[in-house]
């Protein structure tokens, strides 16, 4: 099981702050995950319509689309940051 957490408009669009998910083995990279989530339809289709705009953190460390998920226990998905 992997914990997926969503923030800001990604959270609003998917309609969830977090969930436990079992990812299929073919979802190997961050990029794979974004396409997989988009295919879940409805709010997910909308949130991940442009996967290149979504940022991902694996166990609280920023990751790139080509990075392997490598057994991360908490995967966060969110828009570009606007703090500061």
């Amino acid at each position: 099981m992997t914990k997926l957490v969503y923030f800001a408009w990604v959270r609003e669009k998917v309609g969830l702050a977090e969930e436990e998910a079992t990812l299929p083995p073919e979802v190997a990279t961050v990029g794979d995950l974004l396409l997989y989530l988009r295919a879940r339809g409805d709010g997910f289709a909308e949130a991940f319509a442009e996967p290149e705009t979504i940022r991902v953190a694996l166990d609280r460390v920023h990751a790139f689309p080509e990075d392997p998920l490598a057994g991360a226990r908490e995967i966060a998905l969110f828009p570009p940051m606007t703090g500061g």
Binding site: F7, M81, T82, G84
Partner: protein, 151 residues
């Protein structure tokens, strides 16, 4: 090295943080600070709501501070970032850096702000005075461009 990273809902005391950076020592020659405030030029903003990723926010700011310490000989670093509801005129973020010399303190504060903006997991949503949702603040290309100066 005096180091303090805080992510909190409460306001903070800018003066006390700047004071602490040089207090009780005579090796600090320069203290730079940056305060980010909630701005409302149009008069239509009731508040910003700052969402953050608890746990990662602190960790990411710590990584940015580590990067600054690797580049400049700092004697003190303070970073405070608030979350929650923040009204126009209120403080959002504070960076304080201290060093023996001016260039290190100023450059490090500038660097820290650039990477807080683009790397720390915080998001701003606008709430309007008419009660409507003003939407999420969009990230700016200009912020990425500023951060890219340090490569």
């Amino acid at each position: 090295m005096r180091r303090s990273v805080r992510v909190q809902a409460e306001d903070f005391d800018t003066a006390a943080e700047i004071e602490a950076a040089g207090a009780g020592r005579t090796d600090v020659g320069a203290v730079a600070s940056f305060s980010g405030l909630c701005r409302d030029e149009a008069g239509t903003l009731a508040a910003l709501e700052l969402e953050h990723y608890p746990g990662m926010a602190e960790a990411e700011i710590d990584r940015v501070v580590d990067a600054a310490l690797a580049r400049w000989p700092l004697l003190a670093v303070t970073v405070i970032h608030r979350f929650g509801r923040i009204r126009p005129g209120e403080r959002i973020v504070l960076v304080v850096t201290a060093s023996a010399h001016r260039a290190a303190a100023i450059e490090a504060a500038d660097f820290l702000m650039d990477f807080l903006k683009t790397q720390a997991p915080f998001w701003k949503k606008e709430h309007r005075t008419d009660g409507t949702d003003g939407g999420w603040v969009a990230a700016k290309d200009a912020d990425d461009a500023r951060a890219a100066r340090w490569k």
